[in-house]
Each structure stands twice: as C-alpha cells, then as structure tokens.
C-alpha cells in the first residue's frame, strides 16, 4: 500500500476520499457517492457533454485533449454497440497516481465511467488495469460486484430503464497498451499493436464499435464536475485548463509523493515548497515535468505554470503528471540511456522507425556512456531521434524521440565530456551518498 502525503496548497477533488475507507460502497455513498450519476440520468446526453466540455477537463493520461469534445465525437446512431473504456494501464515512468485512485476510491472511477456511458449512449464499459496492479484489480472486482448488488449496474440502473454493464479486465505487462488503440487490441485478446487512424476510436473502436476511452484520473474527476458544476471546476484551474491534477513528485526530493494541486500551479513552487526541495544540500540540475516522454527542463525554465498550454509554451509537455527531479550528481547521458532502454524494451516493433530507432539509440547511448563515443555520435543521436518523430502509428516513437532530442540540445556539453574513452564524470558522485540511508 502506497503511503499518502499532504500539503496545505492541495485542493482535493480526485483525492478527497483518499484514506477515508471509500473502497467500501456504503462509505462511498456517505461521501456523496453515486449522486452524480443519478443527477446525470436526469440531465440527458447533451447536457452532460456540455457540462464536461465547459468544465475545461482535459485528458489526464497525458495528451490533454478535451474530454467533453472526445465524447461529442461518438455518433448518436450506431449499428454496432458503443463502448466506454477506462484506461488504467498506468505505465509512463514517473507516474503513480491512478494507482492511488484505484486503491482508495475505485467507485469514483466506476461512477465516472457510468456518466461517460450515459453521455455517449453506451451500455457496456470496461475498466482495464495493468497486470502489475493485481491488488488493485482485486479492489476493483469487489467494487464492481458491490455496485451490481446495489442495483447501480446491470438492468434498469437506479430504476431509470437504462441498462449498463461494467466489467473488469487485467493486463499482463505492456507500456504500449496504455495507447488507446493498442489497449483495444489487448482487450480483444491480441498483442497490443496500435491501429492506424483515421478511423478514430470514437467511430471505429473496440470490436469495430464507436468507443470512448479515458484515463482513470479523468473519469474520477467527472462525478465532481457533474455535482459541483462546470463553473466551479473550471475556476479551480488556470484558463482553458480546468480543475486539479494529481502530480507525482519523484526523484531527488525531500518529500516525494502524490499531491493534488490546481492546474497551473507553479513548478518551481511545486519542487521547492510542496516537494521540500533537493536533499543533501545539492542543487537542482533538471526536471522531467510530465513523465519520461516529456522534454527535460533546465532550472532556469521551471518558473512555469503546470497546465497543458504553459508547459507546451516552455518547450515541454504537462504529460501524465509525473514530475521527476534530478540533482547535480545525475549524469544526463546515463539518464538519457536509461530512458531509451525503457522505450526499446517497450517498442512493439510494428513501426520500423520506432523498432530500429530505439534499438540503435540504446546501443549508441550504451557505447557512448561507456566511453566509446566519438563526436559524430552526438549529432547521430539527435538525427536518429528526429527520424522517429511523427513517423509511427502511435506516439511511442515520439515519446522516445522527444526527450532524447532535448537531452542532446540542452546537455551537449555533458555529452562531449564523455567523448574519446573518458570515464563518466558522475559515476562515483551519485553512489557516494545515498538518499535513503
């Protein structure tokens, strides 16, 4: 069980039931549970979609697309069944927030998915949870069972005449499956290989039916929006970035943890005040602001509002909310190598630029870090990355390329220090003084 933290600047919307025993359905009901879905039943699809659109809620998985907009793309009439999916394949390095939602408030995900189903006229939903999160799958299985027992799921939910089934589904280890179309392939019992778009899932998705897929945190935000209203929710955040967000503070920090902060919270403040700053009197070297696929920021670039648009303006991405902090003992070549090793491991091999690119890059970076690099390798690393960008079915190729290009651009000098057989200048510094003693 992951430990909880708190900070006075937190605004608790998604995390308000954390530590409150809300895995128990009766406790969830006491804490305003299943009120939003009953309200939504009286609103009708258009009003639900408008409310969510106006709230400024944007996808918490990382892409930041308007949730209400996504729902509005699903055609009203469809010969094939429509589906709603919860993406709980949380795997982006640096990210550990959906885990807490499933652990502490599984019913909020179910309720959010139910509202999504009502909005698009779907009668079947799936909650996909990554295989490593087995204890959370067990929690979710019980939550779904309890919801059926109360008559909240199944035939004629809340006596409304609306039928809605929600099922659990467990993965078996694959980052790639967190990509929407790959998740659908996986749910169909196949390798998680991405699909070409168009057609988009809203039109042709799971088993060919129109499909909405949302991240677990996105869905857990929906009930609060329906109850509190779009105006309240949007005002919590910054312009065009409604609400709050679970930020996973990790790396070289005194107080790492998952904190719920308003969208647009200043990154510098997040690191130094919420996260307690860098330990052992060391100084900040770099920040990966939104999971391993987002371009690194330098200390002089972190005075930025953590919302989708501001971080994009600063040359990176808000991504999945995983804020990874690096102190001055970190070797950036090593960090780039470890990042690439991950993408090479996770590339499904379907698109050649990604399959070959991540492999070459891992090999080059390994040789480079070991002191076998020559000057032209540096440009080659950049060039190989650039040639993956935008050339693959899914964003895994981009996810590998974008941070690597930023490492080379912003830390070129450090790459040069590794040239011509020189030992890594950082190798001993980091190991000498472990953070957890």
């Amino acid at each position: 069980m992951a430990s909880l933290v708190s900070h006075p600047d937190e605004v608790r919307v998604v995390s308000k039931r954390f530590g409150q025993g809300a895995t128990d359905i009766d406790r969830y009901l006491e804490l305003d549970g299943y009120k939003a879905v009953q309200k939504a039943l009286g609103m009708g699809p258009d009003a639900i979609i408008n409310e969510v659109k106006n709230s400024g809620l944007r996808g918490r998985g990382g892409a930041g697309f308007s949730t209400g907009m996504k729902w509005s793309f699903v055609p009203q009439q469809s010969a094939k069944p429509k589906y709603v999916l919860c993406n709980g394949d949380e795997s982006e390095p640096g990210t550990c927030k959906d885990r807490l939602i499933f652990e502490h408030d599984p019913h909020s995900v179910i309720e959010g998915l139910m509202i999504a189903a009502l909005a698009v006229g779907s009668h079947t939903g799936y909650i996909y949870i990554r295989g490593e999160y087995r204890y959370l799958l067990v929690i979710m299985q019980k939550a779904i069972k309890d919801a059926y027992a109360k008559g909240f799921l199944g035939k004629n939910i809340f006596g409304s005449g609306y039928d809605l089934d929600i099922y659990w589904h467990g993965g078996a280890g694959a980052y790639e499956v967190g990509e929407e179309s790959a998740l659908m392939e996986s749910l169909e019992g196949k390798r998680g290989i991405p699909r070409i778009r168009p057609p988009f899932p809203a039109v042709v998705g799971l088993w060919g039916g129109p499909t909405v897929i949302n991240n677990a945190e996105t869905l857990a935000s929906v009930p609060a929006i329906i109850l509190g209203g779009a105006e309240w929710y949007t005002k919590l955040g910054s312009p065009k970035n409604g609400g709050t967000r679970l930020f996973c503070l990790a790396g070289h920090l005194n107080k790492p943890g998952v904190y719920e902060l308003p969208m647009g919270y200043n990154l510098k403040k997040m690191i130094y005040e919420v996260g307690g700053g860098v330990p052992n009197g060391r100084s900040l070297k770099a920040v990966v602001p939104g999971g391993s696929s987002t371009p690194v920021l330098l200390p002089e670039e972190i005075d930025v509002a953590m919302d989708f648009d501001s971080v994009a303006k600063a040359g990176s991405m808000l991504g999945s909310g995983g804020v990874v902090v690096l102190d001055d003992t970190t070797c950036m070549v090593k960090f780039a190598l470890r990042t690439m090793k991950f993408y090479k491991h996770e590339s499904c091999g379907w698109c050649i630029p990604c399959r070959e690119g991540t492999d070459w890059l891992e090999k080059t970076l390994t040789r480079f870090h070991a002191g076998g690099g020559v000057k032209k390798d540096i440009d080659n690393i950049y060039y190989l990355s650039e040639n993956m960008l935008g050339k693959t079915f899914c964003p895994l190729g981009d996810a590998a390329a974008m941070p690597t290009m930023a490492f080379v651009k912003k830390f070129r000098k450090e790459f040069e220090e590794h040239l011509d057989g020189k030992p890594c200048p950082f190798e001993k510094a980091a190991a000498a003084e472990p953070i957890l003693a």
Partner: protein, 160 residues
Amino acid sequence: MKFSDQFEARFTEMLGHYPTKRSALVPTLLYAQDEVGFMSDEVIAELASRLDLTELEVRNVISYYSMLTTKPRGKYNVQVCTNIACMLRGGEELLEHCKQKLGIGHKGTTQDGLFSLEEVECIGACSWAPAAQVNYDFHENLTNEKMDQVLEDYKKKGTQ
C-alpha cells in the same frame, strides 16, 4: 488439464464479459501462470482449445506481454525497478545488491527454486522509490537492509 476451482470460476465469469471468447485470453493467461508457474506447453494447448485459437496465436500473444513467461521461475519472483525514478534513488544499486545476495543474475533462479530475480521497467511506485515487487506485492522506499529483511521474510514463508 486441471485448474483450481477459483480459476474455473473466474474463467467462466470472464467469458461472460465479452462478445468474443478471445478477449478473455490475456487475463486468463496470467491467472493460469499464477497457478502453474509459467506458460507450459500444456497450459498453452489447453487455453488455445478453450478459446478456439491455435497454439501459435496464443504463443504470439504470450511473447508480447512482459509478465508472461514460458520458462519456470522461482516461487518468489523478485522484480527490482531500475527505471528513471528508481534509478535516481538507488534502484540499480538495489538490483546489484539482490544479485549478490541471491547469487543470480537478471532472470535467474536460485538452485532451491525459491527466488527468481528480474530487472523490470516502471511498476508505478515512482514517488516511493526505489521499489520492487515480489510476485504481486509492492515493497517501497527500499534500502539494502530493508531488502534483506524482505527476502528473509519470504525465505521463512517459503520454507515453512
């Protein structure tokens, strides 16, 4: 081939989840592996037949998912994360420590069949790094000493 009653109950339930049988494949494979220990030829043949698939189709799926293995592992599979957040807080040193302690390398198994070791990618414990999973259990904010205790506890549990 005989699975436990719990497996059969889950399998039957899952078939009711989906319009196609095949969709039950990935979660079923993992539940089968939990019982048998690995994806044996027998398990593959059995599940292929139950889900109207060829054995090749099942093997094709197995090779994609990192948690599924066709080789037997130890009773306790120690999975140490060395991805970025764990690496920054000593994940690699922790893996090295486990290698020394258990006397095995990545994907190795101890001679008594009690432990396997694996270097894994991000397990979603970034804010509590460094972290490891032993089978499905999370162990977080680890030091070498804490890890020794974790291994000791499993050793006791496994040899009782």
